[in-house]
Amino acid sequence: MVPNCSHTKNFLLNAAYSKNLLFRMVAFLYSLKCAGCRAMYIQARHTSNLLKRELFRECPPSVLRTVYSRTRPRRNGVISRIVETIFLHPRIAFGSSAIVAAVIAVMGYYMITTTMDGPVYSSSEIELAQRQIEETFNLLVPLIHSAELNLKEDIIMRQVIPPLRDGIATTTELISKGIRQ
């Protein structure tokens, strides 16, 4: 054993029974310093694992529930409390899982039927729709095209060209005045 043996022993035992993986890794590396420490640490880990397994196997569920309810991390949220209450009691958990399974089944059925049971069209219906769309566009598209042309013409002829023409005239006049002076 390494010097300061009682401290080392406590440290290794604490680590062996700890849930903290990092703590256990540090302890394991530390135990590699001597064969005695390593043997003790491995033995303690083995006992810890055995205890955990046996505890959960042997203990009645009511005891486990009590232990869990006493040691669980406290949360303040209403939803988390409801979820914890559901999962603490086997009957409620079973009931809620049955409800969840039913909801998934219904939702799955709903989603499949809504996507699969869409309207089925015959080729004559599609052809008719094509003709109707064509008729609509024959009426609409030339109007829109002409509206766009009118708009462009209106903007260019009335709003762009006159101010541009005035600007050029003013500039020319100023330049000619400057040359005369």
Partner: protein
């Protein structure tokens, strides 16, 4: 395992709620409720059709080989509906009143007029409904010389530039030259 099931079911329920809360076609901003207009309440259409999104997709797929531009236009649409009314028994001034009422109603409903032509016995108006700087719907009112009134409503993203380009692509006649 149960927790995972719980999470999956919650996601499924939420997604179904989102799907359910998507607006119906009639609630789309580009849907024109012209049936509610007083002037069309007692009228019976001589011809009408409605082409929904699924049929539009099929037609778009069929059009893909001939014209990608047309397919692209059709894929963005949700509905095309057209109604034709035979109003040959109504005098011209009544039709003009109808047109004015239609125009006023659409402008009140925040539709914008983009085209309007008026000749002796024919007229045509195109209105668009814009949402977030995108055209969400288009409406056309056309009155022909035989007093046939046609209303077309296109619901969905209508790109006017793409539609205008179709005119050049397919050589539709320029309305100003043809009249």
């Amino acid at each position: 395992m149960i927790r995972r099931l719980f999470v999956v079911s919650t996601i499924l329920i939420l997604s179904s709620v989102i799907l359910k809360t998507q607006p119906l076609l009639e609630q789309q901003p580009g849907y024109l409720h012209f049936e509610e207009f007083a002037l069309f309440k007692d009228l019976e259409s001589s011809m009408e059709f409605q082409i929904g999104e699924s049929l539009l997709r099929l037609v778009a797929n069929a059009a893909e080989y001939e014209s990608k531009e047309l397919a692209s236009v059709l894929r963005k649409l949700k509905l095309i509906r057209s109604y034709t009314f035979d109003l040959s028994d109504r005098p011209l001034d009544v039709l003009e009143t109808y047109t004015e009422q239609f125009n006023r109603r659409l402008l009140d409903d925040r539709w914008d007029i983009v085209y309007r032509t008026r000749e002796r016995e024919t007229s045509a108006s195109i209105y668009i409904k814009e949402v977030n700087e995108k055209v969400a719907g288009l409406a056309l009112l056309s009155i022909e010389t035989d007093h046939t009134v046609t209303i077309v409503n296109i619901v969905g993203e209508v790109n006017l530039d793409e539609l205008s380009a179709l005119a050049q692509r397919f050589g539709f006649p320029d309305i100003n030259n043809s009249r």
